[in-house]
């Protein structure tokens, strides 16, 4: 499946969520985005944002301090 990518590494709070919201807004319903982050807080932040905005968190993984989230635009 083709997916968009957003690299939010190095950004200071709240900019990762700001960039994520902007990117998702530009996408079509059903499209999938991979978000890459390096802040441990993203483990709580990204699911909370998805729940709040109605987007779907398809999966997440952590590897050597890098966090990857796969999100589907729902509405």
């Amino acid at each position: 499946m083709d997916k968009e990518t957003l690299d939010a590494r190095g950004l200071m709070c709240p900019m990762p969520i700001v960039k994520l919201a902007k990117k998702i807004k530009e996408m079509k319903v059903g499209e999938v985005l991979e978000l890459i982050a390096d802040d441990v807080g993203s483990k709580e932040d990204v699911p909370a944002w998805c729940k709040r905005t109605g987007n779907e968190l398809l999966g997440s993984k952590e590897e050597n301090g890098t966090f990857r989230y796969v999100i589907r635009k729902k509405q």
Binding site: M12, C13, P14, M15, I17, V18, A21, W49, R52
Partner: protein, 119 residues
């Protein structure tokens, strides 16, 4: 859309506490909420022209950038009238979009908001 009211009472006296309301407000805008920031006490300086660039707490984006994101995202900025008068700040000293208010407007905002935070 849920409304959020954030009352901010700090400026250069506490750059971290001056920055946090804008961090939360910008995150709220990105989370489909409608935030209003009400500046009181020392916080009113943040609405004066050129002041925001003086505040940059480490580990946070510069306040000037957060303020720009807040305004561009549609955030509303209220400024306490008596707090301005006490400090000799004239409405003409304020940045574009800042709205001078007294307690009744704040009370109305409190009543309409889902949550009220104070810094």
């Amino acid at each position: 859309m849920d409304k959020l009211l954030i009352i901010s009472t700090h400026a250069e006296d506490n750059p971290e506490k001056a920055t946090l309301p804008f961090v939360v407000a910008v995150a709220a805008l990105a989370s489909e909420m409608q935030p209003t920031i009400a500046l009181q006490s020392m916080g009113v300086y943040l609405a004066t022209k050129g002041y925001a660039k003086l505040v940059h707490e480490s580990s946070f984006p510069p306040l000037e950038d957060l303020l720009r994101s807040f305004k561009e995202g549609g955030g509303r900025l209220l400024v306490c009238s008596p707090c301005m008068k006490k400090r000799g700040i004239d409405p003409s000293d304020l940045i574009e979009g800042a709205v001078v208010v007294n307690a009744p407007t704040l009370v109305k905002e409190i009543g309409e908001s889902k949550a009220v935070l104070t810094y």
